[in-house]
Subunit: 271 residues, 2 copies
């Protein structure tokens, strides 16, 4: 998928919502636990109920790995289902990987080639040669952590590196890497006031924004400072949508929550 | 396992070698490809041939994930085999994980609890609340990336943060985190001259040292600057040992390579 296609999908659906699939077996409806693959059944129901309201799905790999082999199988089934039934969706492996070159190449193979995700989140700490193997995969995107949504973001990311904050140094440096046109970035919704400065460095890139919903970030604030003339934002919500109800009506309630966010996005886009 | 037990094992075996299990199906002996689980068969043979010469094994998760469900199954079988047959070995999930709190907790569950690894490597970029869920697991260790062995380490890690290099800030800050006694650190062998400064900040912690062997780091240099009075080093070698031969004699040749390293370590320890 190209960013132009992603932009067109955003215009068509009047939505730039990404739905996070963080499936916790202790939180999903009881009746699904009797099925052969509760994680996949849950995801499938959520996807079927929300796909016309969002443009991206973001499975969080930790929540699959936490169930071992079964969980990994559910992850493979989930991405297969998305690629077969909803190929228009932008898919994000929220994996936060990153290692020396030959190892990053293996992660890129696993997620971008074999499982055929459109993108993967990557941590920048190990620098250029840990990220470039992901960037080398054609027609795929590497979503680099810049300024994350959590408290710990203030431990290092906002510290000044040679008088410039680390997250800005990460943004600036990443632009010099090979195939940097395949970069997107993670910036947390809980840090909306930082978007103005960030947009000065990366005016055109798409930004994946976690932290709206359960983590407390404001959609309007993010859009005010972070939106560019091709939208340039994918705003993710996980828990607030997928756990809107823990009853048999979970998919219906998830749709209601997704619809609320989509309506708010439509209003913003119409302005 | 406690660090005291690890130290005792080091004394007994006169070795502080960690063997990295980075299994690439294009590099292992052809005859194994006919078996049901070539990755596990390869690991099992390597482990059986080297376990008396090393104190730790470090499966690199990327190399398992690259083979999807089958690879994940091989990872589970490898750690089960280690825990059952060689419970004295210190096991390291080289996973480079790290995410917001509830997600890191899921990774901790997967690797430290369910799979029962003794430790996991974790990236520090997201700060305190992304690392503490790992540290909270009792009797387990979190091996934090400080200064890695690759070129990209110079992109951010050695940059000055408020006039102190980022990797030193990571080391200093991590000491203030809850259960920081469960921390170990990654410092690349290719950066031996940095060990003196690093030991001033973390004199007592164990350091996992990748980069000896294929990446070119020197064992003697690392020991000269990095060893403390309880050794405090786990020096890892992956490719140089496990791919010593691609023939049917691969396990035997791996033992020969491991023995060379162990002998060099024994000499250093005797001094």
């Amino acid at each position: 998928m190209t960013t132009q296609q992603l932009y067109e999908q955003i215009q068509q659906k009047k939505s730039f919502l990404s739905v996070g699939l963080d499936v916790d077996l202790t939180k999903i409806p009881q009746h699904l636990l009797a099925t052969e693959d509760p994680i996949f059944e849950f995801n499938k129901a959520i996807i079927d109920a929300t796909h016309d309201l969002c443009v991206a799905y973001k499975p969080n790999t930790a929540f699959f790995e936490a169930y071992g082999l079964k969980g990994w199988h559910s992850l493979e089934k989930t991405i297969q289902y998305l690629n077969q039934k909803h190929p228009e969706q932008f898919t994000i492996a929220d994996a936060k990987r990153g290692d020396i070159g030959n190892t990053s190449a293996m992660y890129a193979k696993a997620f971008l080639q074999d499982m055929d995700f459109d993108s993967i989140t990557v941590a920048p700490y190990m620098g250029k040669d840990s990220v470039e193997p992901f960037l080398a995969v054609k027609d795929k995107f590497t979503i680099l952590l810049a300024l994350t949504s959590n408290e710990g973001a203030f431990d290092f990311q906002t510290k000044k590196v040679d008088s410039v904050e680390l997250y800005k140094t990460v943004l600036e440096t990443s632009k010099t890497w090979k195939n940097s046109e395949n970069l997107m970035y993670v910036v947390g919704a809980t840090k909306a006031e930082y978007f103005t400065e960030i947009r000065k460095i990366i005016p055109d890139s798409f930004i994946l924004v976690p932290g709206v919903g359960a983590q407390g970030g404001s959609l309007r604030e993010v859009c005010k400072y972070g939106m560019n003339d091709k939208v340039g934002l994918l705003v993710n919500s996980s828990r607030a949508i997928i756990y809107a109800s823990s009853g048999e009506d979970f998919a219906e309630k998830a749709r209601e929550e997704a619809l609320k966010v989509q309506k708010e996005m439509e209003e913003i886009l119409n302005k």
